[in-house]
Amino acid sequence: MISVQDIRKSFGTFEVIKGVSFEVDKGEVVCIIGPSGSGKSTILRCINGLETYDSGAITVEGTKVDPADRSIAKLRTQVSMVFQRFNLFPHRSAIENVMEGPVYVKGMKRAEARDLAASLLEKVGLAGKYDSFPGQLSGGQQHRVAIARALAMQPRAILFDEPTSALDPELVGEVLSVMRDVAAEGMTMVVVTHEMGFARAVADRVLFLESGTIVEQGPPQDILRNPQHPRTQDFLHRVIHPMD
């Protein structure tokens, strides 16, 4: 349903994405791993139209992603994004954050949106926190609100940009378990992550990206247990044994 074909992008003279192609099927969970600066987040941001790309094409269910076109707002209602730094609206409570999209973008009635938001917050384990403001919530809780906000759009796919890298280590588990539940319900997901455990357990496919190209891709057991390419081997070694 998401198709990325030979996209390239430069910031100034520096080419961050050098011809990347991949497909994501409906219901599939794809994890993108790789060293920082490899272009992982940029690809995700291109899929959501937050970033332009210089050449190639990205389509979502056949519609071209074009940040300059009016169609982008509609496309984003079908592909939601969860950000590394959560980016909740600090002036609105947890439930209002979740209701914002359904009410103001989709035109849902407030009462109906409230029920939807309440059920989603309950699902991510925040049943008692409807009226808390983001500043009153822990990083893990804020992140789960952000996931509920993405789910509230009832999207076809959700993009996660390094969902746990801004969290304290003891809060990572609660967020990953919510993501695992979302994946289990058949949501199409593209996840940029450093959590190899999550990738191994949940991903259908892992892409290893380095210096703007896909070095290797395949099922997690192949890529993570038995990588073929020396650069993948080196990266995984450094992630798993950082002190060596």
Partner: protein
């Protein structure tokens, strides 16, 4: 002292006529400068080169010219190109345009204080730019912008005295006229000063209150 009181009794009714015009000029020029200033701020925020460039140039020019010269220009020069305004109209437009430059900088600071991540998050749930402005930026920017906005209103109240130079019979002008005919400078200008103070003090307290309230959260 008794001379001051009898003088005050004589002059106050005339000065009050001036107060009415002072308030009219202040009120309408505040509204005009707010609307224009907001427009400049949005144009700069839009990042559309033509609009942003126009707004920036306009602000730079306006800020580089004394307000009194701008007033002379609008009142004395515009009739040469066929635009005849009453003194009050010229005063409101001149003060409104001059202050729109300062208002714009204030609004721009408020808009830019909102974290870009929130704006991206709003876009990512399908919000258009207009909706992002209305639902995400404005509610937060208002809290940032309000205290300096209060200060701007106080400055505009005082600077409304500048329109006396283009014959608007507001408070300062009325004072000048009375003083010129009675030579009672002491009483007249003390009254004028006290009236300005009385008008601006409530605004000062309101601004301080807002500053305290919004600095807490």
């Amino acid at each position: 002292m008794s001379g001051f009181i009898t003088g005050a009794g004589n002059y106050l009714p005339i000065l009050m006529e001036g107060v009415v015009l002072t308030l009219v000029v202040t009120l309408f020029s505040v509204v005009l400068s707010t609307v224009l200033g907001f427009a400049w701020a949005i144009m700069m925020w839009s990042r559309i080169p033509l609009l942003a460039g126009f707004a920036r140039t306009f602000i730079t020019v306006i800020r580089g010219i004394p307000i009194i010269v701008q007033l002379f220009y609008i009142y004395f020069v515009m009739p040469d190109i066929g635009l005849n305004l009453t003194a009050v109209q010229a005063g409101i437009i001149g003060l409104g345009i001059a202050y729109s430059a300062y208002q714009a900088e204030n609004f721009r600071a408020g808009i830019e204080a909102i974290d870009r991540g929130q704006i991206e998050a709003a876009h990512s749930i399908g919000m258009t730019d207009g909706l992002v402005m209305r639902r995400v930026i404005m509610p937060q920017a208002v809290r940032i912008v309000l205290p300096p906005f209060g200060n701007t209103i106080i400055m505009m109240l005082k600077d409304s005295s500048l329109v006396s130079t283009i014959t608007v019979a507001e408070l300062t002008r009325q004072g000048q006229l009375i003083a010129a005919s009675t030579f009672d400078n002491m009483t007249v200008f003390t009254l004028v000063a006290l009236i300005y103070l009385a008008l601006s003090l409530p605004l000062t307290f309101l601004t301080r209150h807002l500053e305290r309230r919004y600095s807490q959260s």
